[in-house]
Symmetry: D2
């Protein structure tokens, strides 16, 4: 932590600051420049997070030196983390994993049909929401436990692992009973009690980036899960909110290599929610893979016109199959497989 003093800071003010930081167990290091005096603090920066140094008289600004996240960082763990699912599926290796399926679980037959088609095309995980966070109280809110049962049943029958969203700390146990991967949605990225709850399960967690969260905040939310003992976290970029209004959100493709540099956790991309338009899913998926994503989470629906949620962004099975073929070629071109 570095404290930059105001040009008019008095000796008395400086002495007071020094006394206070010493009491916190830190070693202050005063350096008088031509225009500003600064105080460098040596020792555990964490103790300072609860002391608002900005309000001390004479202080102009405070600059942290260390990153606030620990367990998530590559400084903590140098090698890529690999998340293992039952059935031998691994996320975070050279093999790119595709999770696909409808936005919401609606009918069992429909889900079975979609599941077979995405499996045939090369997907290894089946997605489908049973609890749906909807902007409007009047929209379809999901089938609840019935949806979870359908998802599990279909997943087993077809031979796909399953992922589904959990929105409420009270439902974590229930969802964990049925699904192989728990998904935390963008709107819940800072629902800290929910994060703690999934951190106490043994289930892998896909943590979506909040639509206006910085990468640092995203890491801090992952830190909540890891700090509860669950290290099986997969980050998912799904677009951020910007001023551009032609698409639902702006996919932050640069986040992929940035996350890879700063963290050991795998990162996947959700091109369907990012763009909100099925016609953009294919080019954006290719970009994500080329940029180094470890996987994709794609919406596929056999009858987008009749989907109860987000039909506009769902691929038809045939388009999905074509995309998978193209992605396989790109994966090979960059030394990975699919």
């Amino acid at each position: 932590m570095i404290i930059v003093l105001r040009p008019d800071a008095t000796t008395k003010q400086i002495d007071y600051i020094i006394k206070r930081v010493k009491k916190l167990g830190l070693k202050p290091h005063v350096s008088r420049g031509t225009e500003r005096t600064i105080i460098g603090l040596i020792g555990p920066e964490d103790v300072l997070r609860v002391t608002p140094l900005e309000v001390f008289p004479g202080v102009e600004k405070v600059m942290p030196v260390l990153k606030p996240y620990k367990l998530v960082s590559r400084d903590f763990k140098k090698e890529d983390s690999v998340i293992k699912l039952d059935g031998g599926i691994k996320i975070g290796t050279k093999r790119i994993i595709v999770m696909a399926g409808p936005c919401a679980v609606e009918k069992k037959d429909l889900l079975l049909d979609i599941a077979r088609k995405v499996k045939d095309a090369g997907a290894t995980v089946l997605r489908g929401g049973a609890f749906k966070p909807r902007t409007s109280p009047y929209s379809f809110q999901g089938l609840g436990e019935k949806g979870l049962k359908y998802l599990q049943e279909v997943g087993k029958k077809v031979g796909l692992a399953t992922i589904t969203e959990v929105m409420d700390p009270r439902d974590v146990g229930l969802v964990a009973k049925y699904a192989d991967i728990l998904q935390i949605g963008a709107r819940n990225m800072q629902n800290f009690n929910l994060l703690k709850e999934v951190g106490q399960t043994k289930k892998p967690v896909v943590l979506k980036r909040g639509m206006s969260s910085t990468i640092k905040e995203w890491f801090m939310s992952a830190e909540y899960i890891l700090s509860e003992g669950n290290f099986d976290v997969i980050l998912c970029e799904r677009g951020i909110r910007t001023f551009e209004d032609m698409v639902r959100n702006t996919l932050d493709v640069t986040a992929i290599p940035l996350v890879k540099q700063l963290s050991h956790l795998p990162i996947i991309v959700d091109p369907s929610h990012a763009t909100g338009k099925w016609g953009l899913v294919a080019p954006v998926s290719k970009a994500a893979v080329a940029a180094g994503a470890d996987g994709l989470l794609i919406e596929v629906h056999t009858k987008p016109e009749e989907a109860l949620s987000d039909g506009a962004q769902s691929l038809m099975p045939q388009n999905f199959q074509e995309l998978m073929q193209q992605l396989r070629v790109i994966s090979n071109a960059i030394g990975r497989s699919m």
Copy 2:
């Protein structure tokens, strides 16, 4: 709802769309322009929200005519809503209400001291967090039920109503037992299960705007609470996330008159969280009152240096008192009182 067709839309495509919308109980109205054909749909627009018209072949774009929120709208209720608390306090009248206190409840003595000072200065509601949503898992998370007890006890002793945040649907009953107003924080604005839960209580709710939520989304979240039967919702603008990095968030002062035009609900402003700097709280509070806010939610602490949360943005009691005097003069100048 208006459907704009692509210039190359075929008669067959148009007929199919017409057939489908008729089946939904809507009356289509085709209008052929020089460059585009459009279809206006007459009837309840809501049935269309689950039908993704954008994916129908031949469709260029779909433009909703109606607002998605109902109960929150001035179309639904013309007169300003007034929220009544025990002790005769009313929010949403000519009298501007100030809620003040520390960010977090820490010690009882400290809280009592702050409460007396804000009461003397003219505040009518005491704020203080017992459950704190913190970005880092390593930060102070609040005292929990003990904090709620302190808050209630101090409020009663000093003669102030109380407001505190609830973060978890499981805690709604507990918090409602102790506090006069439930606060939903910015990060939970779209925690829909929490919204439903507070919607089922009889307690007034302060609903903070999500830091990157549009006004329309904010209204939709309020709609969740109203649609559960609780109409005592107070909106709270607390700054939105922008590219400007000199302050924590950018207070959207224009939201105040906009909300007043579009909704009957009262709106208050939190200048402390919006700016993150105590030196900006006074001018921003004055702006909020001049723009028509019905109240303010201000952080006050007797020892900001030692506050366990957000000390940098807390006013000292003396600054708060001076601010209250200035606000009283401005309130009178615009025909209101404080």
Copy 3:
């Protein structure tokens, strides 16, 4: 400037950095912390701006200590700058100045009519564009020199100073011949050649904030003008681009006190362009004055329906007059006049 080294930085890398910064005339100050080593640099930080320290091997990040702006800063000049116009008008004193008029100069009679009405209501400067920066090449682009002549003529006849926009470095001389204040529009805030050109005139300049410029960048653009010798710069906040789409831009009301704290230059607010809706101009103007603005720039038109530019945001003369009365009361309440 402070250099934070990577945890794996080698002694050789550190020595190389030290050698290089010494060659630039700076005194390095190495401080070894528990988790990171940092190098503080004492001496003129400016020489470092052309040396990309981030690319030196072993460097994690570089943190500047000093502000990049000089002449604009309160560190450079403690007292508020006051800009003087002919006719005794001063900007930056206790008296709040209102500049009003149509968006664009259209017809002379119309301009005269508007000018008389805004003068009667208390405005002291007449606004009106002769060169209009329009998003579309097919929109009305302004009357050019004829518009400048009308503006000057009407200003003299009615007794108002004049302000108009200059968009092109080639037009600075021409515009300076006719107008009392030169306006740099938001889209030209970083048109650096234009800034240099107006910096070489003796005319006061209103510098609008770019719609997605930080306050620091705005100061740097003002610095361009001051560094050419023209210190008569008035900053104008006119709303920034955010994700909120109910209004054209989001007025950053907090920028007003922030600018006042950091700079000696006066700041005015343009509520018309910020909101884009005449119904929001009055509350937002009141907020700006309450927050400490030194003036306002308001669009007034007698026939908004027929305005060739931005009619939707223009006040009718009667609304303007009512607003002026209310602003006068608020000005008095905060110890200023109008």
Copy 4:
């Protein structure tokens, strides 16, 4: 254009609107819905752009049906535009074009060295700024005409076409004399007089997206150039401003397929300015190519440490060469060449 009326609009107000739009040559089409009455207007929408229908009494909102850009649109020209340079280089075909070189032209020898290396690696156009738009008046502003001469000389010697930025309408003739492609920088995307000036040359223009411009505004700026008669416009995505602060800007990778869908103009990507960090240039370049970009504009410098501008984002020649090899493989994988 569609006019949505307020629920309380009177017959007199509606009749007045109908009268006015008829006078403008449009055919109104009134449609009374259950909750709102709307008026559809048939005829040339352009005449309405100067009539602010929003201010007419009784109007709630106005929704345009048509796109404001014409010449830029795929509706105007179905086939991809191909821009031809001397020496047989074509931009907008299956072959992806790479433009590379230093941010600024500094010394001739250095430029020659870089030029040879980027040519060897497969670049076909040499970039280098002679006029530099710098945030600070105290930063290096470029060599001016001397820089243009160096660029031309080196380009000819090595056999590369050249691209350089023009910032000032007064310099367009000068820059056009020396360079093969004129570049309009992000900060000048809405410098309309500059756009008109380059629109009157016969030189190809690379138009960078403003850092907070929507795609629609970008198209409107291109429209300025096309409407002056110059159809040789290449769009360049270079990152937009968002709240994320780990990188300089957020590359909008989705803009690539969107532009391809809506316009016939080629689109290239500048990964160096978008990210601001050389370590991110390679993954982001691969993403851009995979998403369908027609080219890349990459900064390469032999001594980034000593670059007078933007050294932190420049690739070393060896990294550039490796990247080019990888890009060639990806290009082939998607059916293109490099």
